[in-house]
Symmetry: C2
Subunit: 292 residues, 2 copies
Amino acid sequence: MVQQFMALSQWSNSMKTESAAQPGAPIGVFDSGVGGLTVVREIMRQIPNERIVYFGDTARVPYGNKSRETVTRYSRQIVHFLRTQNVKTIVIACNTASAYALEELEQEIDIPVIGVVKPGAKAAVEATRNGKIGVIATAGTIASKIYSQYIETIAPDASVIGKACPLFVPLVEEGLLQDPVTDEIARRYLTELKDRQIDSLILGCTHYPLIRDTIEKVMGDEVTLVNPAYETARELKELLAERSLLNEKPIGLGEDGHSFYVSDAAEKFQVFANSILKYGILSAKIVNAEKY
Amino acid sequence: MVQQFMALSQWSNSMKTESAAQPGAPIGVFDSGVGGLTVVREIMRQIPNERIVYFGDTARVPYGNKSRETVTRYSRQIVHFLRTQNVKTIVIACNTASAYALEELEQEIDIPVIGVVKPGAKAAVEATRNGKIGVIATAGTIASKIYSQYIETIAPDASVIGKACPLFVPLVEEGLLQDPVTDEIARRYLTELKDRQIDSLILGCTHYPLIRDTIEKVMGDEVTLVNPAYETARELKELLAERSLLNEKPIGLGEDGHSFYVSDAAEKFQVFANSILKYGILSAKIVNAEKY
């Protein structure tokens, strides 16, 4: 009886792995809330045949001011949920979760996991001419020093200047995308980076591309703004190609298309999602992440 | 055997109730994060003999933009945790949780629960001369219409004008208590209330008393600012007196004094707590609220 049960459980595990490795399986993407949709937008643009299962942790947003332990626990629960959707790979679209949880989670599961930090850091190293790279992000991402540590390994001569910008997320969520208040806050946060003559700046939080114009106005034309979402989608495409996991067949909408899950307030999420993504998402379902 | 077990369980239940009803038992106070400490400060001022067990849900803060279901689930978990500390009464120091969860929780437990909404509403009704009352709060508290509904029952002729101020909490947490940016945001949020000639204004979020000066500058001297924390502490004192539950014996510090629990980032909490409360808190411990 016990043997029978074990055999069944092994069979079901191998089924899972096999099904996760099909090119037709979806890609799991998660974020603390809505910001990760800027990464989804980029994936849809660069590899439009891929189905996406998105999870936004709107019941526990934001992650940026929470501890490594808490952010890792939350990320692990979400990864467990995404595995139930038989995803073939997982993208951590949140910079804070990429900074704190990626390494641990990579070791715990048998499908590839990629974050936004490494692709963003690589792009900044390629863009810089004077070796001075700025990073703006949440307090958590900056405190983790993840960007500077990774840049040090690929470009030991570069210097990295990090700056936490805690008010950018609430300003974006309040809709003040082009506003004198956002200008003023941006000036305060960014003047130090400008004075220190960085020539490339990583937008190290998924909300920040939405105030790209404001940041550009303060930093000037000489500074290249790096959006990790673009590079992440490019790396994802390469990874899927290497493993023969690219989906060749165009996907439909409805049941065959993308799926969106949140841990709270699905309607509010849909409104925001529809303003970011090119076509309307059909619906977002609520999942209690604490149970995974 | 089953009977024996039941008897034991009844005995342990009655023990709990009895111990919760002792004057020497502590008062449970909870909030989504640090803001509820403004209520704690007021309780310490008005009834200094009472021991407090505080829980700040820093792992899931903020509550103000989350749904009724989620805020109620979180509040229920915290109440379960506070019961393990044998509290004699519970104060919901968070306006959003008071708005969404108080009624349900009141019916679920056998010790008194009070929120900050009713005391705040009563004080505003006493303060108004022209019957026009303003309420500023999180999006959740305003959407719940809890303040206007309650004021209608005690002062049917009063009119209530609510305004959500989502940026006030991040501005306070960023430390911009006296700052031109906070002035500008306050002007935008409050001008409508001023134009509609309210003469009393409820500070319907525990963070707002910390920018009282800024709010006062915009509203002018004619408008009475109502801080529900003051009235809540007064009602709590009355409630304890009625039930002969006031603690007569002065409390000490250390093991005999107050206890502070958070769900994340205890050190950051301690720093903020020490800036709000008169004397240093000894330490804050981490508790995972999801488990209750």
